[in-house]
Symmetry: C2
Subunit: 414 residues, 2 copies
């Protein structure tokens, strides 16, 4: 299982690794959520019109409901219709009903004349010469008839989809579940972010990093654990994660003598799908499965954790949540050259910024001294992929992948 050869030729490439992950990331089951919690979720039911829409002949303007025969005449205003309150009579020639936008049109009304095209005089109103049948009336059922499919399973729930569900009274829609994700940070040297480190200790930054990626993907059901580099402790922590569909370990996944993850994972019955990829950063990535649950053994260094989470873990989460697996791609122009002098696929964090009003992107690779230097990369919102030996000049057109939840530049929900 554990290949400690240094050769890249024997290693799986990132594309093939992605395929192996996606094959095993099946959409989860469904759950009902309140409408107030459904934004951004993936619908798992059809939403059907409970009645005709509009449910009645509805005025589209403030004005008067009138008869065609009264074009150019002065007619008597015999009543009023407001939203929620119909005028109960039947409109006949020579009469008009004052009507508000959204109000039900009275029986017999043939059109609505906007108020600004009329002249009100006491209890009468003067109408224009040009009356056209049906003007400014949205007829019952003209948008959608009762029983029509309004939203389909698989649709992502937009603000307007929320409005559709509210309209027809679907207040607890069935949606795809999102995975529950457990994090286990391993390493004797790790402390909480709030602690004061001794000289050789470091604060655990991988847990906040992963929680940030999960937040962008809408995953909020998480468990955060920590383990020292001892097999029995790692095993005990993993046993606490049994109810989580995805387990993310950080650290201890290389071939070193204190890297116990592979043996512990195998000992708990996980089947290792791959271990080590021809990629930089994140070469030691381990991926295992057990009964539909997925385990990612991420390296300890944060830029490797970042790449593996944004690329493989995010794809698995999207798939399990019913979303397209791969993030949106963009096209832009490099603000600075970059090159891959190694033998593995190089993933470079980059910052894409609008280049012009026409929708183009300027893409700046985030220079890093080494794969553990997270400081410049923290501004990245995109990822560049360079094949072994590939070099790109400043100004070159490049494709890039948006990092999870990026692109629109919005503040994500907390």
């Amino acid at each position: 299982m554990n290949c400690d050869c240094g050769s890249t030729s024997a290693m799986l490439n990132p594309k093939e690794a992605m395929r192996l992950v996606l094959e095993r990331a099946a959409p989860l089951g469904v759950e009902r959520v309140a409408l107030s919690r459904a934004s951004g979720r993936v619908l798992a039911q059809t939403v059907v019109a409970d009645r005709d829409y509009p449910p009645f002949d509805r005025a589209m303007m403030d004005g008067y409901a009138v008869r065609l025969a009264d074009a150019g005449r002065r007619v008597a205003v015999v009543g009023e219709a407001t939203p929620g309150v119909a005028w109960s009579g039947r409109l006949t020639d020579g009469k008009a009903v004052s009507i508000m936008t959204g109000a039900p049109c009275p029986d017999g009304a043939e059109l609505v004349v906007p108020v600004e095209q009329t002249v009100r005089e006491g209890d009468g109103v003067g109408l224009p010469d040009d009356l056209r049948p049906g003007r400014h009336i949205a007829y019952r059922g003209s948008d959608q008839p009762s029983g029509a499919d309004l939203l389909g399973a698989g649709a992502r729930i937009t603000p307007l989809a929320l409005a559709v569900m509210a309209t027809v009274g679907v207040v607890h829609p069935l949606v795809r579940r999102r995975p529950k994700v457990a994090l286990v940070a391993t390493g004797n040297e790790l402390l909480d972010a709030a602690a004061r480190p001794e000289r050789y200790q470091i604060r655990d930054c991988n847990t906040p990093l992963l929680l940030g990626v999960l937040h962008r993907l809408g995953v909020s059901d998480t468990l955060c654990l920590r383990a020292a580099d001892r097999p029995e402790e790692i095993r005990a922590r993993l046993e606490e994660c049994e109810s989580y569909e995805i387990v993310l370990l950080t650290g201890g996944v290389s071939a070193g003598r204190y890297d116990f993850i592979p043996q512990v994972v195998a000992g708990l019955g996980w089947r290792v799908v791959f271990h080590k990829l021809a990629q930089q950063p994140g070469k030691p990535l381990l991926f295992a499965e057990r009964n539909g649950r997925l385990l990612f053994g991420l390296p300890g260094n944060p830029l490797a954790v970042h790449l593996c989470a944004q690329r493989y873990v995010a794809a698995a989460i999207r798939c399990m949540s019913g979303l397209p697996a791969l993030p949106a791609r963009g096209v832009g122009w490099l603000a600075a050259g970059c090159a891959n002098r190694g033998e593995r696929t190089l993933f470079l964090p980059a910052r894409a910024q609008p280049k012009d009003a026409a929708g183009g992107w300027s893409v700046e690779p985030m220079a890093t001294h080494g794969s553990a230097d997270i400081f410049p990369a923290s501004r990245a919102n995109a990822m560049l992929e360079l094949a072994p030996g590939q070099a790109l000049c400043s100004g070159a057109e490049v494709q890039f992948e948006w990092l999870a939840g990026e692109c629109a530049g919005e503040g994500d929900p907390a």
Copy 2:
């Protein structure tokens, strides 16, 4: 204040209206949040390195810390360094220390040789001929020296920015506040989504719609109220919103006899900045301010609410939250023709989908029968803008604006 003329020439255009909104949407103050709540927020402080990074000379590979003089020789393995645990001696010629990735290099070490380039024999190890000074050591302070600025005010908090803050022990960062938003849905005809409507009643879909837009913008501090079409009731509800920086009213903003919003708003001391725009949908939009608070009087029809919220309200919220005001733009090709035969700027909901692997977008205008038909538009993730008289053929290149939180196609946090 209230112009009920039908002429578009007298009306403000959408661009000018946006300028008037942005002029009045000043960034709010700051607040401290826990790191676990900081994802996606806008940083309002500088984050500084609390010590050198790396904080010690750190091994970048599993292997042996050695001396240059020992190239091609077999040396004695005299100790071990692991993450968090240094080897306390000083390395001299003829000796090596077994070392793990992330461990502190011993004093005197001149490089780290990866384990796969060595031959271990008992308590000795054979080294390769080619040793280069400093290889696989990240020297103390080589990423960032103590005191260096790591993150600046105004940066959006990415997952890696969370990692940076955890690394240096900033566990309650100062961030820009997001506005608190109160919603008041007005209309005698409105019911809760869970209620069963009588023939002329409709369920309130504007509140869920607006909450969906707010969710995409990260606004969670909201108040939802409802008022019948009576001035005193609307006034009372508005008085409940005093502590909210943005107030969104729906309905009652036209020039009809039951449209009390303009008079009530003015009576409460709000200054109306504009009322009515040369746009479709959403012509009756009212915008007012009072002491830095903003009020939007949105029309009652949901597609108008959607456009006004996605365009003007979202821009104000982004500004107040410290983000760029305007959403990202995309460029794509129309999947179907569309035209604006009116005299006002037409905003059309549209669906952008990847056209090819090269990052192009196919943009499908969402056909609607009228401005209250939300059903087809619920699939939209983008908005097209057509000038009066403008017609575009299928296949034409178009710019579009992403709706709030769209583009990457992610599931947003619930």
